[in-house]
């Protein structure tokens, strides 16, 4: 059986693991649909490492991060709680000095990490995969593993520190200014910042303008995203456009189609998703000006800041303003970390693994280069230097069969010990005060209020009311189906979905909290977002008319 372990040491074992913790939660945001084995190996090992690293480096008083297990392509997680009061107090004292770098020089801290990780990517990319020796390819793969490990350290350290400030800011807004996170003023204050993801979107929007000026807009509008490139290459002007577009992709296209998976091409390999976004901007129309939209939000924020500060007693204003500035980094961090950390590292993982995969195919160790995603690093190492000596196809075959099985029956949202129910489990999560649990993973539980007679109940990610046609989107390659004025229904959203927020009227997501992608971007675009409805994608069908009231957290299916 040993050979079937996908994440040795961290496979879910019901007997032992439920004795350790009575509740394990599926990470539905990232591991539905189930991961390929290699991706699961990376995520379970290093996301787990990063969370514990971040909690320890910051000496979080009540939690030591999370424990993860792998089960049928899914990631299951549970909290590691600090057990004694005495230890909590000790950790709290240390926490107060460990958090200071975030307060004193947030930008310096974050920019330093970005520089470090980009430097690692450059080193990885410096190797020409086609001409490298087997030893060099294997070494590149080992470095990629280390990069992924480091990425998660930075990721979780920053995420914990950043979100603690955000939570405190929410609390203080309630206490000192009397506004909560459904208040438009609150949303105005935390949105309207420029960040790397918006910069990429702006470039895509500029390309849509350029396509129009070159007279290529009709061709793009009439083509399916996957055909745009081919059709453009048929004309001189189109070739010129694609040359510029490829240059842009080489710089900013190191990202995955699905955020937490490696078996789909990066934008560099296949720019169809990016060209699809250019198409979306053309659909949106000539008068649409992304730049102006952004500026309006910035102005609203400046006015909001003044209003908010005036509500705070003047003797408290000093630190409150400092806290506000810090909390404002949360939105920027949420978007930028996906770009610089997750998406980019996963693109590097794909690049390095495929380099070896192609070599393995040449030597007959596997049949297809993407079969490498059904191996785990130890098995890759087995054949790394001398792939001609090994036949790994039997491992690939078994794993592929397993993977196909995983797709058929979804993983349960939680695995609980006998006599322990979901409400109890949720309570433990909330009581942990773990910032990531509160703001990203679980969020607050929706309150079912029968008197509202809604079809679904959720929480408010971004305030507002909207009515429109529902569009259920499960993966990024369906994004082009979205039409102006739709209401997007999804399990969750990720950065590559950001551009469609400029077209839609509202969002319903199955899972999420106030610092999830959908909530942050919804606030940036000023559209209502209802989250944590759990069954949105199963109950709502594309084409149905729906009405959402994010302030109340309700969704009505009108048809």
């Amino acid at each position: 059986m040993k050979i079937y372990d996908v994440v040795p040491g961290l496979e879910f074992d019901p007997e032992r693991d439920l004795a350790q913790s009575p509740a394990w939660f599926l990470d539905a945001t990232h591991s539905v649909p189930p991961w390929t084995p290699m991706f699961g190996w990376f995520w379970i090992n290093f996301c787990r490492h990063g969370m514990q690293y971040g909690a320890e480096e910051l000496s979080l008083p009540t939690v030591k991060g999370w424990d993860w297990r792998f089960l049928r392509g899914g990631g299951y997680l549970t909290l590691l709680l600090v057990k004694s009061e005495e230890e909590k107090q000790r950790r709290e004292v240390a926490f107060r000095s460990r958090i200071l770098p975030f307060i004193q020089d947030y930008d310096g801290l974050w920019n330093g990490f970005v520089k470090e990780i980009l430097g690692r990517y450059e080193e990885l990319k410096a190797l020409e995969l086609d001409t490298a020796s087997n030893i060099q390819l294997l070494d590149n793969f080992e470095q990629t593993i280390n990069t992924c490990r480091r990425m998660w350290e930075i990721h979780m350290y920053m995420m914990y520190g950043t979100y603690i400030a955000y939570i405190l800011f929410e609390n203080m807004c309630r206490e000192l200014a009397g506004i909560d996170d459904t208040s438009p003023l609150f949303h105005n204050v935390v949105s309207g910042f420029d960040n790397k993801v918006f910069q990429v979107d702006r470039r895509l929007w500029e390309f849509s303008k350029e396509a129009a000026s070159k007279g290529l807009d009709t061709l793009i509008l009439e083509s399916d995203p996957s055909d745009i490139r081919k059709k453009l290459e048929e004309t001189e002007k189109g070739r010129q456009f694609m040359k510029e577009f490829r240059a842009f992709m080489n710089e900013d296209g190191w990202r995955m189609q699905r955020m937490s998976e490696m078996n789909l091409p990066t934008w560099v390999e296949d720019p169809a998703p990016a060209l699809g976004m250019v198409k979306q901007f053309i659909v949106k129309g000539g008068a649409f000006n992304l730049e102006e939209e952004r500026k309006k939000l910035g102005d609203k924020r400046a006015a909001g800041e003044k209003e908010l500060l005036s509500k705070v007693p003047s003797e408290q204003r000093g630190w409150f303003e400092q806290l506000m500035r810090l909390a404002q980094k949360s939105g920027i961090f949420s978007e930028e970390h996906d770009h610089y950390l997750d998406l980019y590292t996963h693109a590097m993982m794909r690049r390095s693994a495929l380099g070896l995969g192609k070599r393995f195919v040449k030597s007959g160790a596997i049949d297809h280069h993407e079969d490498v995603f059904f191996l785990i690093p130890d098995e890759v190492r087995r054949a790394g230097i001398n792939p001609d000596q090994f036949d790994l196809r039997y491992i690939v075959d078994r794993r592929k069969a397993d993977w196909a099985e995983w797709q058929k029956t979804p993983n349960p949202p939680a695995i609980l010990a006998e006599g322990f129910d979901l409400d109890q489990a949720m309570k433990v999560l909330v009581q942990s005060n773990d910032p990531i649990a509160l703001k990203v993973v679980v969020g607050s539980m929706p309150q079912v209020r029968p008197e509202l007679k809604a079809d679904l109940y959720g929480t408010c990610g971004s305030p507002g009311v909207a009515e429109g046609t529902a569009r259920v989107i499960m993966t990024e390659d369906e994004l082009h189906l979205i039409k102006e004025g739709d209401i997007l229904v999804a399990a969750s959203t990720s950065p590559s979905w950001t551009p469609v927020f400029s077209m839609i009227q509202g969002v319903v997501v199955d899972r999420g909290a106030s610092l999830s992608h959908a909530a942050i971007v919804g606030r940036e675009y000023g559209i209502p977002v209802v989250m944590n409805v759990f069954e949105g994608t199963t109950k709502i069908k594309s084409g149905q008319r729906v009405k959402i009231d994010a302030n109340l957290g309700t969704v009505y299916i009108l048809d």
């Binding site: 008083p61 909590k88 958090i99 004193q104 603690i164 405190l168 203080m172 500035r325």
Partner: protein, 341 residues
Amino acid sequence: MSEKWIYWLEELSKADNDLVGKKCANLGEMTSLGMRVPPGFAISVHGYEKFMEESGAADEIRRYVRDNLPLINDVKRQVAASRAIRQFVESKEMPRQMEIELHTHYVKLCERVGQEKVGVAVRSSGAVSMPGQMETYLNVKGARELTRNVIRVWSSAFTTRAIAFRLAQGMEMEKAPIGVAVLKMVNARCAGVCLTVIPTTGDTSKLLIEGNWGLGESVVSGEITPDQFYVDKTCGEFECVVGDKTKMVCYGPGGTCFANVPEEMKRKPCLEEPELKEILRVAKNMEEHFGCPQDMEWVVDDDLPYPENVLWVQARPAKYAKKKESEAEYLAELMSRVFKM
């Protein structure tokens, strides 16, 4: 030709600290960075040494010290020594050639500012900080008075505290690295400080300007509530918190003194928008040049037209970290409470 010992401020820079003392070197540096400072010149430490040797004062001090050294280890005798030595120094005439050079510079200064017998401030400018060397003589008019007061500043190197300090440090008694600054008296309409960081929050996007009518001493004294101007560094927009300016510092016959602010000026902002703009312009340049937040002292001279009237008398790195630290620590403590909800 004897060694040069008087320098125009424009000739100096930070590198001349040992030559003319800290205050003069700073003013020179500020000039070279494009800040307007009160017009004036500096007397180097060589000027001091030249005077001491040529006038014979140095010899007298050496003799006095030789005769009394074993005895001046207690405060009473140090007081006596100070009195005696200052007596030697202040009784000496300035050597003829030195006096001519000094007067030539003074006349040139008068020509520059277009005033006959212009009033000047004569200040000590130590190359190393030494306690007691804080002598300043204000509103000195005419060449003879200038000579007398320069000698008085030199003599201030022998205050009781300075003598005690030299003994404790094992320094030679007649040697003192002391320079003198001779600056046009500013006819201060208003004055104050300018910080390129908000000291309470560490916010570096804004400038904090505090000011009051008259000389700047009142602003730092804490006796009055000065006007506060928060100026946005990028757009120049500003917010003014008018202080209750009941008193101001003026020159009086015996130096500076507090005076009552006329009723109609108490609630009137002491700076106007163009002056704020000029302060902002210079402050941004300084901060950029030094690469860290600055704490600067400005004064608006009523004798001069805008923008020449906005003068600077001091620039140093701002001390805000400590304040910021405590805000940060407070915030860190609040953050730890997030885990107790």
